[in-house]
Subunit: 206 residues, 2 copies
DNA sequence: GATATCTTGTCACTAAGTGACCCGATCATG
DNA sequence: CATGATCGGGTCACTTAGTGACAAGATATC
């Protein structure tokens, strides 16, 4: 099965699962229900996900893939601040994917549902690994380097906190405006990463 | 049930569970086996733990409680570096608890067992919350402050990476000596936290 | 010593997740 | 076009993690 198709199918399942989790709670949602909602047999669900909670993972991941891919395309001669600002504003004209709202809802649910919280943490564990190669690459350090791993962990952690914060704010609907200004968001993310890495990750490389 | 007794019981269960996980793998260890090993009924196990994997949590936690409690007792007028160095050397004369080795083994297992990795991440999620109040308190910031949460997240993340690194090194037995020098360990931890918080957390407060 | 509370054991039960086998589609090869 | 190999998915039986309900023993309080 092509990686593409598999990923799309997982995302499709994830959307339905996340919707059900949000509407009726995690405990009240069975694997059978998820399967019925997406039109597959229950057995097939377990072929693609380890547990019913982990069905939420692709949707959660979807909330940060753009940021991660932006990090990956970060050119060496630019500062992270500039890069994120230009790219985020460029992208922001496109319609924001519906999944993002779902992802925020899952993060919200993760506050009270331990099983979902583990999924959320595992997703950011994945982000941390990606950060590891991105940062290691940028700093010209060997792959398993301890310093690089700490930078990546700290960076992923602050992004996670920021993500949760923004998600909570958007969901409550209180302060929606400050997060529609993409350059401001870019600056906050870039600043957080730079701070969390002691200033090592964020600037341009001569 | 007193908090003390409950914690001790959980730890006792956790020790047996961790031992079994290490000896025969997580999948091959059943709740019944854990119960039998500790001399309780299976039902009682589920009264104290949500899942069999989470039985490993207290042992994992035990690996960082000393550091967390040291952070909590960190006086404002001292630098983290000094405080950790003096306290760690003072403590290092006491026999190192046997649980630490078990904790390292669990972290090792977490590399290949996703279910255990979630437990490990959840344990550090707890550490992050503790860090949150410690750091928020030290910086005289309100409880839910975003900056404080990011500092706490970054600090917990680097400690986690350091812990995994040290654990792996000790388990392979390759370089045991560099981690018996407690002042060196203290310096590394303190330096990592200071870096991850952009230099904000680590120094003495006038 | 009587009683209320609290923890555990027993047992029946639900549901998450797996293994084994089959079926239809797709695709390569003759 | 025929054929067979591979692959994704369905069906069904089965294991086991985890829960609810109730009984029983321990413990504390008066």
């Amino acid at each position: 099965m092509s990686e593409q198709r598999r990923a799309r199918l997982r995302l499709e399942i994830s959307r339905e699962a996340a919707r059900l989790f949000w509407e009726q709670g995690v405990a009240a949602t069975s694997g059978d229900q998820i399967a019925a909602a997406v039109g597959l047999s229950t057995r097939t669900i377990w072929r693609h996900f380890r547990s019913k909670e982990s069905c939420a993972e692709p949707v959660i991941m979807q909330g940060v893939v753009t940021l991660v891919s932006l990090m990956r395309s970060w050119p060496r001669h630019k500062s992270l601040d500039d890069h994120l600002a230009t790219e985020l504003t460029r992208i922001s004209h496109e319609p924001p994917p519906v999944d993002n709202l779902l992802a925020m809802k899952m993060i919200r649910l993760a506050d009270t549902e331990p099983a979902l919280r583990t999924v959320w943490l595992m997703a950011y564990d994945q982000v941390e690994r990606e950060m590891c190669v991105i940062i290691g690459d940028r700093l010209d350090r060997p792959a398993g380097d301890l310093e690089g791993r700490m930078y990546a962990a700290a960076a992923a952690a602050v992004v996670r906190v920021l993500d949760a914060h923004i998600g909570a704010a958007v969901l409550t609907g209180a302060e929606l405006t400050p997060f529609t200004d993409m350059t401001a968001v870019a600056r906050r993310i870039a600043h957080a990463i730079r701070t969390a890495t002691g200033g090592v990750v964020g600037g341009p490389i001569a």
